[in-house]
Structures are given as C-alpha cells and as structure tokens.
C-alpha cells in the first residue's frame, strides 16, 4: 500500500505547480516587501495595526492560561526554595530595618541633591498607566515585548516605561489595545544618561553579549569625570525622548576606553528584566514636559 500511495504522490506532483516558480514568485514578493517597508516605513502600518489588534485579545487570553499553568508548576518546584528564602529574608528584614534608618537620613541629602539638579519634577509624580506584559519577541535574542494597553488608555509612541523605580524602555509602536516596548537592554537601544552625583553625561546602550552577566554598556563618559562603582545613572536632560531623572542603574567597572578619548563602564539595571510582568507607562511625553517648562518660565 505504501508503494501505491507513493505512486499516487508522484503522479500528483507532476500535475502540480513547479515549486521552483513558486519559490521565485515568493522570493520576488519578499524582496519587494523588504524594499518597500524599509524605504517607506509607514506604508504597512495599517496592516501591522490590524494584525496586532486582532492578535492581542487572543494573547491576553492565552497568557492568562499560560500563567495559570506555569504557576501550578512553580508551586511544586519552588516550595523548598521558598522555605530557604523565607529564612534568609527574615534575616534580611532585620538588616534592612537598620539600613532603612540610615537611608531615611540620607534621603534628606538626596532631596538636597535633587533640588540642586532641579529634579523636583520627580517621575513618581508623573501620571502613569499600569500595564501587563502579554507577549515577547519570538526569537529570544531581542528584548522587545508587547503590553496590554494602547491608545485607548492614552498611550502614545515614545512614552517612557518604568517598573518599580527604574527605567524599562520606550514605546516604539502603539495600537488600540497594545503597545510595543523596546527595553533598554535590547541591542538597538541607546539612552542618554547622566550620573546623579556629578552630572556627567553618558550613553547607556544595550548589549546582548552581556545579557547573562546582568549588565549593559555605558560609554562616552567624559575622561575627566570622577566616576566610581555604584554611582547612580539616571536619564539625562539632553535626551529628547526620555524624561529626565529616571533611575537606570548602578555603574561598575569604570575604565578608559581603547581610544583613550573617554571612559566606559557597565551598568546594572535596577529592573529585573527576566521576570518582568507588570510595568507602568508614563503618559507624559518629553516634548510636553518641555512645553510645560516653557509655560512656567513665561509665567515667571
């Protein structure tokens, strides 16, 4: 019977379209698509928006199911780890209580710094929208993900995304009920940063090769800048997309770069990108902030 069906197949294939022509046709279509979408970026936006608008509700649904299943799995595998962690955390709580007292004192100092650098419009006061990560880039090389809020909730392109108290990334695409976020650890990302203590500017850029070590690159630091480990990097004033004063992370391994023209270093982001679930989108754009400043200065 196997023989007969093979014969049938061979017969069928002869009556079928020659695969080489189909390959050529598809190849042409793809090349044209690549060219057109690369040259004229907005031509395919309606198609993208349509596909994403259709898929997002399904993704939200399946994410709930997936989260439920993985939670069940984790309960079994995590119990022992959790018990150990519990003991460890209890000890840590005592430690932190002490530390907290010291920090409260330092907070006054920090406020003084903030006043000094005019960071009084703190990001905690910006209007925010809470969102959930519903899907991630399918190739696992990049750090691009999609959240479940879109233009319906007032989200626009280039809005900043934070989690906890640190910068996550920026909105690069937005639809009715979804938005695409490029995180700062993505290879294509580069953020204009600033050292909180010294006001020296720098460029924070993602680097996939450092992914497992948990940090990303900082470059273009002024050669004369006095930077030491654990200094905080925040987003700078000169960025045209990022709001100023959002914490990015803590610096380490400062060294002079190969060209001996500037310093470079690593920064450990404060956000845990591996387990990112809930994020906040700051619904104020950088330009709006600038306009606001102008209005205020006019008033004065």
């Amino acid at each position: 019977m196997g023989h007969r069906s093979r014969n049938r197949n061979r017969f069928k294939e002869k009556t079928e379209f020659n695969p080489k022509y189909l390959l050529g046709g598809f190849f042409l279509i793809c090349v044209v698509l690549i060219f057109v979408s690369y040259r004229y970026k907005d031509v395919f936006t309606p198609a993208r928006v349509f596909v994403n608008n259709t898929i997002t509700p399904m993704q939200s649904g399946i994410k709930t199911v997936g989260g439920f299943i993985s939670d069940r799995f984790r309960i079994f595998s995590d119990i022992r780890r959790l018990l150990e962690e519990n003991d460890r955390l209890k000890a840590q709580v005592d430690e932190l209580k002490n530390e907290n007292q010291i920090l409260t004192q330092e907070k006054y100092e920090l406020n003084w710094y903030r006043d000094l650098y005019d960071l009084d419009v703190k990001y905690s006061e910006y209007p925010k929208v809470a969102a959930t990560v519903i899907s991630r880039e399918p190739n696992s090389y990049c750090n691009v993900f999609i959240i479940d809020k879109g233009t319906d909730n007032g989200i626009k392109k280039n809005m900043n995304v934070i989690a906890g108290n640190g910068l996550v990334g920026i909105i690069t695409d937005v639809g009715k009920n979804w938005a695409k976020v490029r995180s700062i650890i993505d290879d294509d990302s580069s953020v204009s940063g600033m050292f909180l203590k010294t006001s020296d500017t720098c460029i924070v850029s993602g680097n996939i090769e450092l992914l497992d070590k948990g940090y990303i690159d900082v470059s273009m630091i002024n050669l004369k800048a006095e930077i030491y480990d654990n200094y905080e990097i925040v987003t700078s004033y000169i960025s045209d997309k990022y709001l100023p004063g959002i914490l990015i992370g803590y610096v380490s391994d400062v060294k002079v770069d190969a060209g001996r023209m500037s310093k470079e270093a690593y920064v450990t982001p404060v956000v845990d990108f591996q387990h990112l679930e809930a994020v906040f989108v700051i619904t104020r754009l950088r330009e709006q902030l600038d306009n606001l400043d102008e209005v205020i200065s006019h008033d004065n």
């Binding site: 196997g2 197949n9 294939e13 079928e16 379209f17 695969p19 189909l22 390959l23 598809f26 190849f27 279509i29 793809c30 090349v31 044209v32 698509l33 690549i34 057109v36 979408s37 690369y38 970026k41 395919f44 198609a47 993208r48 596909v51 994403n52 898929i55 399904m58 993704q59 399946i62 994410k63 199911v65 997936g66 989260g67 299943i69 993985s70 519903i134 899907s135 991630r136 880039e137 399918p138 190739n139 696992s140 090389y141 691009v144 999609i146 695409k180 290879d187 996939i208 090769e209 992914l211 497992d212 591996q274």
Partner: protein, 167 residues
C-alpha cells in the same frame, strides 16, 4: 483542501500565541523554542514543497507584521526553509519519525544562522561562538524536544485528512 487550509491557519495562530505568550513562562536557559518552524517543516515533509513554502510564507509574515521592524525578511527565511525541507517529501513515510526531527534540527540551526548573519554579523558583532553557545544550540535542542510531540500530531492530522482525499 479548504478545510486543511483553515486548519493550518488556526494551528499556526495557536503556535504563534504559544511561542510568544505561554512558552515565555517556560523559557529554558533564556530561550524559547521556535514553534513556527515545526508546521513549516512538517507540512513540507508530509505534503510537498509548494505547501511548505506557502506555510513558511504565512508564518514568516505573521512574525514580520508583529515584531519585525521591516516586512518580508522572516517570510523569506521561513519560505526558504519550507522549500528546502520539501525536497525530503520524496522519501516521506507515514511511520518515519526520525527524518522530520533531523529536518527540524537542521532547519532551526539554518534559521538561527541566517538570523545571526542578518541582525548581528552585519552590524559588526563577529563573536559567533557566543551566539552559537548561548542561543543557537539551546534553541535547536528545545525546538527538537517540542517537535517530537508536535510532529506526531501533524502527521496524524495528515493521515486523517488523507483518508478523506481518497474517498
């Protein structure tokens, strides 16, 4: 024919959702399996080059439209995988479960190499050893593990529909 097409589209959609949504919670070594490679290779192997290419084109376009910054590259890569694995259709046998697994692992490696060349090598990241060790090999292993189960389902589906074709 039409029922098969609709079934294939639904399966692709489901696999896409699994890949971007569910499997991100089950990432091993930080990688997610490329589930969409499996229907492309499975259909090319069980049903021939033409259908493999169409499946590849649809799968690639789905990724292009949702995650790529320009359209057509993933469609091209997946379509090419469908074309190449379709050559093995000549030796397709309903009871052969080794060949598709070999095909899927080669396709996955091929796809990842292309991806590396287009997105990293051309932008000056020459450290291929790192990408091979950190991303490509784990992805191939994970994808093959998932395909052991998934290919069976695709094959059963093919056998099931074939019965109707005969009648």
């Amino acid at each position: 024919m039409i029922i098969r097409g609709i079934a294939a589209i639904l399966q692709i959609l489901l696999l896409y959702l699994m890949q971007t949504g569910v499997f991100t919670s089950f990432a091993l070594a930080g990688v997610v399996p490329d589930l969409l490679i499996i229907p492309v290779v499975a259909i090319a192997f069980t049903r021939g080059q033409n259908r493999g290419m169409v499946t590849g084109f649809v799968c690639g376009l789905l990724i292009d439209l949702t995650y790529s910054s320009f359209i057509g590259l993933f469609a091209l890569m997946y379509m090419f995988i469908g074309f190449l694995s379709g050559f093995a259709h000549k030796i397709y046998d309903e009871n052969d479960y080794t060949m598709p697994v070999i095909l899927i692992s080669i396709s996955e490696l091929f796809y990842n190499l292309l991806y590396y060349v287009f997105f990293y090598f051309l932008s000056g990241r020459l450290n291929i050893g790192f990408y091979l060790y950190r991303f490509m090999i784990p992805k191939v292993i994970y994808t093959v593990l998932v395909s052991l189960l998934l290919y069976r389902l695709f094959n059963l589906e093919n056998i099931f529909f074939k019965r109707f074709d005969r009648e």
